[in-house]
């Protein structure tokens, strides 16, 4: 690999981590598998860096490779982990590809939306994502039944999605 291309490809891969992570997440049943698969995808992009033509659309190139690699890898996962079937995987990948074009706007909007959450809801999200607690553990910490925690988390996620949409509309960021 030429040095000039290698430094550029590293920068491009790094800059597209949010998109790549989003694509990978949409194909996986378990969130805990994301880092593993993302690492595989990053490796293969790096290996194929010489195929990328400078000045062309990186995301168009990378997303195809990432999708192909991810789907292949998931088939291997299927021996010992829960995975979506092929038909649904391809449909999810198509949908994800559409949504990912505005993922950076969504990420920015999410930050504002998180700050607007009422403290109890923010605490729940923090326990789940910042603390990495499972539902059982959150239920124990907060002293509420698991089903209730799961239901509230769903409502908070819905509220965040609505807030993100509203912000994108307001800022004209939605496409």
């Amino acid at each position: 690999m030429q040095n000039s291309n290698s430094s550029e490809i590293v920068a491009l891969i790094a800059r597209h981590q949010t998109r790549l992570r989003g694509l990978v997440r949409c194909l996986l049943v378990r969130g805990a598998d994301v880092d593993d698969l993302l690492q595989e995808v990053n490796s293969v992009l790096w290996e194929k860096a010489n195929d990328f033509e400078t000045g062309t659309d990186f995301w168009a190139w990378a997303s195809q490779i990432a999708r192909f690699k991810a789907l292949n890898h998931i088939r291997k996962f299927s021996r010992d982990r829960l995975v979506f079937d092929d038909k649904l995987l391809n449909e999810l990948a198509d949908l994800a590809h559409e949504r990912l074009s505005q993922i950076d706007h969504r990420r920015d909007a999410l930050e504002g939306c998180l700050n607007e959450l009422p403290p109890p809801q923010r605490q729940l999200i923090d326990l789940r994502y910042a603390g990495g607690h499972a539902i059982e553990s959150i239920a124990e910490i907060i002293g509420r039944p698991q089903a209730s925690i799961r239901q509230t988390l769903y409502r908070v996620r819905q509220a965040l999605l609505a807030c993100i949409e509203a912000k994108l509309q307001f800022e004209g960021g939605a496409t």
Binding site: A14, R21, G22, V29, G31, A96, R106, R107, A130
Partner: protein, 361 residues
């Protein structure tokens, strides 16, 4: 129960990693039959990804990412031990230092004494008396064997350099100048700093590597100092060169703000803010704002919990399962660096500096 209600239930179970084989089949059937449900599923999966990225603890790239800040000329240098005795076989590292190790409360006290001295120089007797009280109480508070949990959040400002794009949240358990961090992700691992100032890191559930202070590359040393909240090493340099202001903070706290004096203003530090709990005297929050040539960053340490420490977690042993191996001085630094690099990737080569290893290595 409607299909939509059932779908929401199943999707929630999936997002919370609690879905069974049968439930997944049911979820797929529902999603394949209805495009709006598929769309809903993708929205939630993408949100899950963003939340995990935004709030989640460090994945494997944690250290690599923070290396982006290592060009900071303010990087503190930890005291280097003058001699290291090495034992073969099962022996542990024995380190003697020229300077006695400063325990956490002493470090905190020393730092705050700087504050005291500045107020004293300015003749602000009231502030001086108040700061003295803070120091005394902080010494008492931090002498107790209590573990403090801080969330460390490093945010970068607008920049063209992609290395600086990732805001991170790391939950660090600190006690004195020791710390440990549990990394979450597909491959869970832990790392920390022990009483001797060595950094240890687990490579899976059966192996760990110990990096001694004289073997540490700059990034590892810097991150170690950052995570221990070692206030002396972090703040001493710029406290000497800063204007200090003390004021009442929110919820019964005292705020101390340090801003660089004019002759020192070409340094990256823009401002440091320390929030001390007036009652417990623990440092509730420390915010360090810096401006580099190609990037800016705000590092925030927020106290989220105080508890009795589980001592076993301050070394690799508490994070490994039997039988395990801990590679320390009995293995050459070159070989340990290979292990680290194989595990964390090529960028981690900078974490250990081989050229300064003692001759018997």
């Amino acid at each position: 129960m409607s299909a939509n209600t059932r779908f929401v239930e199943l999707m929630s179970r999936m997002l919370d990693d609690a879905i069974s084989d049968e439930e997944l089949v049911e979820l797929q059937t529902l999603a394949e039959a209805d495009p709006t449900l598929r769309s809903q599923l993708v929205d939630h999966l993408l949100l899950d990804s963003l939340l995990d990225e935004n709030l989640g603890q460090e994945p494997l790239t944690a250290l690599v990412d923070l290396i982006g800040e290592s060009s900071d000329p303010l990087i503190p240098t930890a005291p280097v031990p003058t001699s290291i005795r090495m034992h073969s076989g099962l022996s542990k590292t024995v380190i003697t230092r020229r300077w006695p190790r400063m325990s956490g409360w002493l470090v905190l006290a020393a730092s705050l004494l700087f504050v005291v001295s500045f107020f004293s120089m300015r003749g602000n007797r009231e502030a001086y008396a108040k700061a003295t009280q803070i120091v005394q109480a902080a010494m008492h508070a931090h002498a107790a064997p209590i573990e403090r949990i801080y969330v460390v959040d490093v945010k970068r400002g607008e920049t063209n350099d992609p290395r600086f794009e990732f805001p991170r949240n790391v939950r660090v358990a600190t006690q004195g100048d020791r710390f440990w961090v549990q990394m979450r992700g597909y491959r869970e691992w832990a790392w920390g700093r022990n009483e001797q100032g060595a950094i240890w890191m687990t490579l899976g559930p059966k192996r760990a590597v110990v990096v001694n202070p004289n073997e540490m590359g700059l990034p590892l040393r810097y991150i170690g100092d950052l995570y221990t909240l070692n206030l002396e090493t972090l703040l001493q340099n710029f406290l000497k060169h800063c204007r200090l202001e003390m004021s009442d903070g929110p919820a019964d706290s005292t705020i101390i703000v340090a801003t660089p004096r004019r002759q020192w203003s070409n340094r990256p530090l823009q401002r440091a803010t320390i929030e001390v709990d007036r009652e417990t005297k623990a440092i509730r929050k420390l915010v360090i704002e810096r401006e580099f040539e190609h990037a800016s960053s705000i590092s925030t340490f927020t106290l989220v919990d105080s508890r009795l420490a589980d001592e076993s977690l301050y070394g690799p042993e508490g994070h490994l399962s039997e039988p395990y191996r801990i590679f320390s001085n009995e293995m050459s630094a070159t070989r340990r660096r290979e292990l680290v690099t194989n595990w964390f990737g090529p960028t981690s080569e900078q974490w250990m500096k081989i050229q300064e290893i003692l001759p018997n290595e």
